[in-house]
């Protein structure tokens, strides 16, 4: 059985409908109106031990709601969940002991207490054996560069520092399962990199199962082998990331630098169907093309026929465009590939 297993899992919220203004508020007081908002439609999910899964979707798709049900915060409206054989809602404490969770929007740390003391509190809460605690603390401090702020209280930390502390806090007890809800939100490139490296290392060394939501597609490409896309509460794609890339990241881009400008080539290219020319300046331009229609070598040889190419480089398939097309409703990933 999979380590995370959800069947027919759904969640709906009652949302109050108030007309604007004071009159609306008063009216709501006497005749409260609610609508049922279905945040997560009945969905099935299985994650294997040691997997790294990206759970993505546009704003309001139901990602956080799913994670909150899996972590035992929210009671599902319907369906069943089993995490390592435990029902996270019914056996909340048992489940809590075996998972780590980071919600990027909100810290799990004690606001007024120095980070080290928060950690030592967690040691008692999770009953972490001293040697394990010490080893983890040393390793995490080093890997996440926490030395400079570990003695400050959470309220004094910058966002990036806080996020690192939160990540360490979630992993001190070596949980076999780690949930990350937007762990890199608002972070600079270097901190993002640190966090990604860290998660990768934990996953590789301890076979920690990682489920991650993010809007930063770099996180996905760096960390995850599997991609699940949810939209309007339903899963619309579940499969390997590389497959999405090879099947749907059809656009390739090649950048050229040439010795002399080649006006006739530019003309020719912009008239060729399936190719798109983008000129940076007189001697630099890029050609994007559908790789189902042309091969890269075809494109390159076509350009070389017209003159001397000083340099060229090819850009890799870009997941970002694929995801964007899916969100915009322009691409159905479940369609059969050509």
């Amino acid at each position: 059985m999979s380590i995370i297993e959800a069947r027919g899992l759904s969640k709906s919220f009652m949302q109050a409908v108030k007309e604007p203004g004071l009159a609306g508020a008063v009216k709501h007081l006497f005749i409260p109106k609610h609508i049922e908002k279905i945040a997560v439609q009945p969905l099935n999910l299985s994650v294997e031990a040691g997997e790294t899964v990206a759970y993505v979707g546009p704003n309001g798709a139901g990602k956080s709601t799913t994670i909150k049900m899996l972590t035992g915060i929210l009671m599902p409206s319907a369906g069943s969940i089993s995490v390592n054989g435990i029902n996270p809602y019914k056996k909340r404490m048992e489940n809590a002991a075996q998972i780590g969770a980071v919600f990027g929007q909100r810290t799990q740390l004690w606001w007024d207490i120095p980070i080290v003391e928060s950690f030592s509190l967690l040691k008692d809460i999770y009953q972490i054996p001293e040697p394990v605690y010490k080893a983890n603390l040393d390793q995490f401090t080093e890997l996440l560069g926490m030395n400079e702020f570990i003695h400050l209280s959470a309220r004094k930390l910058s966002l990036g520092q806080r996020m690192r502390a939160d990540l360490a806090a979630a992993l001190l007890h070596n949980p076999p399962i780690l949930y990350l809800d937007e762990p890199t939100i608002g972070l600079d490139v270097s901190v993002k990199q640190k966090i990604r490296e860290f998660i990768k290392k934990i996953n590789q060394e301890q076979q920690t199962t990682v489920m991650l939501t993010t809007h930063d597609l770099g996180d996905i490409e760096d960390l995850c082998k599997r991609l699940i896309i949810i939209d309007h509460g339903s899963i619309i794609y579940d499969g390997s990331l590389s497959e999405v890339k090879s099947r749907f990241a059809r656009n390739r881009v090649i950048f050229f630098q040439v010795g002399v400008p080649m006006p006739e080539l530019y003309n020719l290219l912009s008239q060729t169907p399936g190719m798109k020319l983008d000129r940076q300046n007189e001697q630099e331009f890029s050609v994007s093309f559908d790789r189902y229609e042309y091969t890269a070598s075809e494109v390159v040889s076509r350009v070389m026929k017209h003159g001397e190419v000083i340099d060229f480089r090819m850009e890799d398939a870009n997941i970002e465009q694929v995801i964007k097309a899916v969100y915009d409703g322009n691409l159905d990933l479940n369609q059969k590939g050509e």
Partner: protein, 265 residues
């Protein structure tokens, strides 16, 4: 989870909270003194009344004072050790309960340790002093059993008080963004139990003995301590009432928790 582990975790969380509060709360003394002053004023008020009417429904000054002080004392214990119940509204509405639900620690326990009402120390001290004074001034035949029972009644009084606070504040799970109005109202009804229940109509007596059993904090213990015949035996229900209140409050809290929806972000 064993009881001793829960005590241990409570202690750990409480001490951390205390450290943080001592560091940030510079108005510590002001809070404490103002609480103490409020209670002293209440006491003076009683004294002024009894100066004119030395006996209310067969109850002497120090006997009523005892009841009065039991209400302070339990309030003090409540704010000092269980103040967090009053933060439940915020925890629910801001979605901060998420954090508690992620830890392998009973949620109630974490709620209790969410805050410390340092002003409770003032109530506790004044309440303690007044209880002591009222016991000294009322010629009581002390025995070992009586001391033990007094302590037991103090304990059940605290349990009842905290249970009612928890139950009242659990309203936050149903009434969103409502502030503390409802639990405050419930809390303030304790004022009724500062006086002998015999002053009130039957309905009120029954109400503060059953639905909100504040009378078991003050009145029934007083009938035992001061040997009020006519009520003898009723105090023995105190442990039952305490257990019942605790169970009911916990049940309401758990049921409320199942309604918890976190927040959208």
């Amino acid at each position: 989870m064993t009881l001793s582990r829960m005590f241990y975790l409570y202690k750990r969380l409480y001490i951390q909270q205390l450290k943080a509060i001592l560091e940030y709360n510079k108005d510590f003394y002001i809070l404490m003194c103002s609480a103490a002053l409020t209670q002293v004023l209440g006491f003076v008020f009683l004294w002024v009344i009894y100066d004119r009417i030395p006996d209310i429904n067969g109850w002497q000054f120090w006997e009523v004072t005892f009841m009065y002080a039991m209400i302070f004392l339990t309030e003090g214990m409540g704010s000092l050790f269980f103040e967090g119940t009053w933060r439940l509204g915020r925890l629910v509405n801001q979605g901060e309960l998420d954090r508690y639900l992620l830890r392998p620690v009973p949620v109630v326990l974490q709620v209790f340790c969410t805050g410390i009402g340092i002003n409770g120390l003032g109530n506790l001290l004044i309440g303690g002093v007044i209880i002591w004074q009222s016991l000294v001034h009322s010629h009581i035949q002390w025995s070992f059993a009586k001391v033990v029972i007094l302590i037991l009644l103090l304990l059940t009084a605290v349990i009842i008080r905290v249970s009612i606070n928890l139950a009242g504040n659990s309203a936050a799970f149903w009434i969103r963004n409502a502030g503390n109005a409802f639990p405050l109202m419930v809390h303030n009804l304790a004022d009724l139990a500062k006086y002998p229940v015999t002053l009130f109509p039957q309905a009120v007596r029954v109400f503060i003995s059953t639905v909100l059993p504040y009378a078991f904090i003050s009145f029934y213990p007083a009938t035992y301590i001061f040997g009020k015949s006519g009520w003898s035996g009723w105090w023995m229900l105190a442990p039952v009432v305490a257990a019942g209140s605790a169970a009911a409050a916990y049940g309401i809290f758990r049921y409320g928790l199942s309604k918890y929806e976190s927040t959208g972000n």
